[in-house]
Symmetry: C2
Subunit: 185 residues, 2 copies
């Protein structure tokens, strides 16, 4: 069956899947994650079975080397794991399928890479400022301290949140906040 230009909406599973993976890759770029990594992750996430590097390569129409590099990085992030099927020579790859667990792994890694160094910079700056006599620098000192305090409080909340097991905690949280909003004003 030949597809006309008018009949352009998606009508089969493979098409929808490819479309999702494609778009998820673009979202990845937006989020500061490289396109191939995001695509591979999307593919593994919706695939019931683990996939081999070859299958990934064909599915995404990208090079062997690229797949290999992206998988290495995803494994380093801890969100993809290698699967050794017995009797099989090739490796298979799979990802965490539970959304909450997945989120926790990603959030922890991003915190480690992005937030921790940020806090470190702030702490060092404040500490250095405290070493010098503060005649001129009052305002700047105060601003840095405010910023540091804010970030530390935020991290604190996140760490408590992370310690919670299920997704349901998020729903609960939404409810509590909604309530507080109503009562507060």
């Amino acid at each position: 069956m030949i597809k006309t230009e008018i009949d352009s909406h998606m009508n089969n599973f493979e098409e929808i899947k490819d479309n999702f993976i494609l778009h998820w890759g673009e979202m990845g770029s937006l989020w500061g994650i490289n396109r191939t990594m995001a695509q591979i992750h999307a593919l593994l996430f919706i695939s019931e079975k683990a996939l081999s590097a070859n299958e990934i390569m064909e599915e995404l129409k990208t090079s062997r080397g690229n797949v290999s590099m992206a998988l290495r990085e995803l494994i380093a992030w801890g969100i993809v794991s290698r699967l050794h099927k017995k009797g099989e020579r090739r490796e298979y790859y799979t990802t965490e399928k539970d959304v909450w667990l997945l989120f926790r792994v990603i959030a922890r890694e991003r915190k480690k890479r992005e937030v921790d160094p940020t806090i470190e910079v702030l702490r060092r700056s404040v500490a250095e400022l405290n070493k010098i006599p503060s005649t001129e620098s009052q305002y700047e000192r105060a601003q840095l301290e405010n910023l540091l305090e804010f970030v530390e409080t935020g991290i604190n909340v996140y760490e408590e949140l992370e310690a919670q097991a299920p997704t349901s905690i998020l729903k609960l949280l939404g409810q509590v906040l909604r309530l507080k909003n109503k009562v507060g004003r």
Copy 2:
């Protein structure tokens, strides 16, 4: 006074300030914000007075054009505002100084640019899947729905959180979660 190589720790205000701005720029890159934008923002954030494009340019040792572009972008984000001093010809620039308000502006903008399109992709994919008869695609459908639900719940919580005015809500939240953690197990 000539500085020896051994005497390398920071000992005056300007040095600490420059160091902070420099590092904050690097942090910006980590966060997907361009270096110059992050540096300008850091500079304005700790400066008591509003600064002119010229002052920014000299402080950061970067080109006139670059400052102009970065300021335009920061203004578009809504985190820097132009200040017209009467009797003065040149424009001055300043940023929100309250950390919580600043956070809200940035978070809202990032949500608009990064999260909303992501949800859109998910919603469209799920909607398309629901149009086709589901014999094969059970697992994939379920995974997409889980993901969508998770993201929607998360956004929900964020929106409630945003509606809260002061920083103190964050502290409160930390406490509630801490409590729940202790009782829960």
